[in-house]
């Protein structure tokens, strides 16, 4: 297979409205392998480039359930199986008194899953990425917005995509080295 000589083409915009419109047009044109970059979350931008569903909430729910079962089972095991203490004939499985700890372990594991899940699904930590090769990309964490169409997209053509991006009125268009 032909090895791409570039990673993609990147267009720079000066505001969220511009990058949102550009993303919508790119999606309408048929581009799918692309990503938009912004200094803050822009509402609607992820949807505009075709990203809709994240499975993170499910992961967090499962984490919470596992946390709950673990916390409860820990106490149950200690109080009923491992070292039951007969205190005035009271039940070993005194589940109401197990609830506070069970609640805490639920929250703890759910929160850990939320953070770890988010990082893993985002592929972070990832110190190197081709987009950092663009000098002006430094401004993405300040006040500039970018749309990058990747060379792996089936519709990608260096000249045609360049013309298309320029038609969206960006402030700059740059080639991204791999």
């Amino acid at each position: 297979m032909h090895e791409p000589r570039v990673y993609g083409l990147m267009a720079e915009f000066s505001g969220p409205e511009q990058v949102l419109e550009a993303a919508r047009q790119a999606y309408a044109k048929g581009y799918r392998q692309m990503d938009a970059y912004s200094p803050f979350p822009v509402e609607g931008l992820a949807e505009a480039i075709g990203f809709h569903h994240t499975r993170l909430p499910l992961f967090v729910l499962v984490g919470g359930i596992v946390g709950a079962l673990s916390g409860f089972f820990l106490q149950y095991y200690a109080a009923v199986i491992s070292y039951p203490l007969n205190v005035g004939g009271r039940p070993f499985n005194s589940w109401p008194s197990f609830i506070p700890i069970t609640f805490e372990t639920t929250v703890l594991l759910a929160a850990l899953c939320a953070v770890v899940g988010m990082l893993m699904r985002n592929g972070l930590p990832r110190p190197y990425h081709p987009v950092f090769n663009v000098q002006r990309f430094e401004r993405v964490t300040r006040d500039k917005f970018f749309l990058c169409i990747e060379a792996t997209d089936p519709l990608f053509d260096e000249k045609k995509t360049l013309k298309f991006l320029e038609s969206l009125n960006p402030t700059h268009v740059t080639t991204v080295d791999p």
Binding site: P16, M118, T141, R142
Partner: protein, 454 residues
């Protein structure tokens, strides 16, 4: 702007200063870390805080050598400053989580400029709090026995005890707060990485930022994770202080055994927490010129939250007194009599003054807008909340059911030294945070600038 009669113009004021852009916001907050020379006042404050931290370390050292006898605890008052300070510090931490998590869920955008600072405050307050359960053990070096690990002695902690619940609650609270704070920092650490000029700074911030590049896909998952964390942190913060209140309320002691304790403690925690946030934000805002980001409207809102929670706390006091009488129980009635007219009566009246009477000044708009008054009232509330915990702990313990067990409690110099020392540690950590990290959430402030989404 013409001031209409009866209309509070602060409420309709902006949430962010006029004329700010994405660039100016970034520049202001990053330059406070990267370029600005530390103001002399801050260095002076840090020096004092550092000395107090050394006092803390000396106190801890002496405690390890001599044992808890250096404190003023005795029988019957076997729990003194250690538990008072634990509850005080944890309470202070709750405002950070409320601002970060609960205000996020309620879509209150005014949280955007104060949440990072408040969350950092929470982390350091919980850290200071966590010292006390460790220190007040007779043998702190075997503290790990309370963690349910497999061991050769076949020992388990007492899962039915609120003290063990505390271990899980505080650990969870600290972990979740830390993650919430750090996750919130990642995009701003990327900003620091890209703004810093020196290579080593870029590397340090870059490593912490984990390669964040502002991808829209990443932002989507990020927002989702942040929202989920907020949704988890909200019941967590309520549960943590409820569990702390269970330390008292699941006992049978008059003055402790009250069902009002969980909501009363949580409201009190938010009360003292906001007071501490204001105590810190007012001078920092002045010293760093942050009025465009933490506006008068923010101060007004925070003062109002304080007033509201103060009224809930006042309700708690009223109910305690009412039910002590209404119950007809001689021990409950004596507990209330002793609180008001016993040897510690002056503390109780001081409490009512500092926690209920003086904060009513916050009803007046001009007081809420005056930073000096607001600062003084916040300090007063912090003191008042400490007095509240003193009243709860000491007056109930020193005179309970059997008069022959009654005695007085006098804190020693080491009690005070440890307490003041933790204040020093807290301030030290806050100073370091302000010096090294962007203390206001840059990307969330950018979101406050208007743009058309269609």
């Amino acid at each position: 702007m013409k001031r209409e009669h009866g209309v509070n113009t602060v409420e309709t004021g902006p949430l962010i200063g006029h004329g700010q852009t994405y660039g100016t916001i970034t520049d202001k907050i990053t330059s406070d870390v990267l370029e600005r020379k530390t103001p002399r006042g801050m260095l002076f404050g840090l020096a004092i805080a550092f000395i107090l931290t050394m006092v803390l370390f000396i106190s801890i050292g002496w405690l390890m050598i001599k044992g808890v006898g250096i404190w003023g605890i005795n029988i019957p008052v076997a729990w003194g400053f250690a538990i008072i300070n634990l509850v005080w510090w944890i309470g202070i931490g709750h405002a950070g989580t409320l601002i970060s998590a609960i205000l996020l869920l309620l879509n209150q955008h005014w949280r955007n400029s104060i949440n990072r600072f408040a969350e950092a405050m929470t982390l350091f307050a919980v850290g200071c709090a966590a010292l006390f359960p460790l220190l007040h053990l007779g043998r702190p070096w075997v503290f790990y026995w309370i963690i349910p690990l497999p061991d050769t002695m076949a020992l388990w902690p007492q899962f039915r005890s609120p003290l063990t619940w505390d271990v899980f609650a505080i650990t969870t609270y600290f972990t979740v707060s830390f993650m919430f704070w750090f996750v919130g920092l990642v995009p701003d650490l990327a900003t620091m990485r890209d703004t810093a000029k020196k290579k080593w700074m870029k590397i340090v911030y870059g490593v912490l930022a984990m390669g964040w590049r502002g991808s829209a896909r990443h932002w989507h998952r990020y927002e989702m994770a942040y929202l989920l964390l907020a949704g988890l942190a909200t019941p967590l913060v309520i549960s943590v202080h409820s569990v702390i209140s269970f330390d008292f309320s699941v006992s049978v002691l008059p003055g402790w055994h009250a069902t009002i304790f969980p909501p009363y403690f949580v409201a009190g925690a938010i009360y003292s927490g906001f007071a501490m946030v204001l105590c810190l934000v007012i001078p920092v805002r002045k010293a760093y010129g942050l009025q465009d980001f933490v506006t008068d409207r923010h101060m007004d809102y925070m003062a109002k939250v304080m007033l509201a929670t103060g009224l809930i706390v006042a309700y708690g006091y009223a109910m305690e007194a009412f039910f002590a009488w209404y119950s007809g129980n001689e021990f409950e009635k004596y507990m209330m009599f002793n609180r008001t007219q016993g040897p510690y009566g002056f503390i109780y009246w001081g409490l009512l003054l500092t926690n209920i009477a003086i904060p009513q000044l916050l009803w007046i708009g001009r007081i809420r807008k005056n930073m000096v008054w607001l600062f003084l009232i916040s300090i007063t509330i912090n003191i008042g909340m400490w007095l509240e915990r003193f009243v709860i702990v000491v007056t109930s313990l020193h005179r309970d059911f059997l008069p022959s067990s009654w005695d007085m409690y006098y804190p020693t110099i080491w009690d005070w030294a440890t307490y003041i020392g933790t204040i020093g540690l807290f301030l030290c950590l806050m100073f370091l945070f302000i010096r090294l990290m962007p203390m206001i959430s840059i990307f969330e402030l950018r979101q406050l600038l208007p743009w058309k989404s269609r």
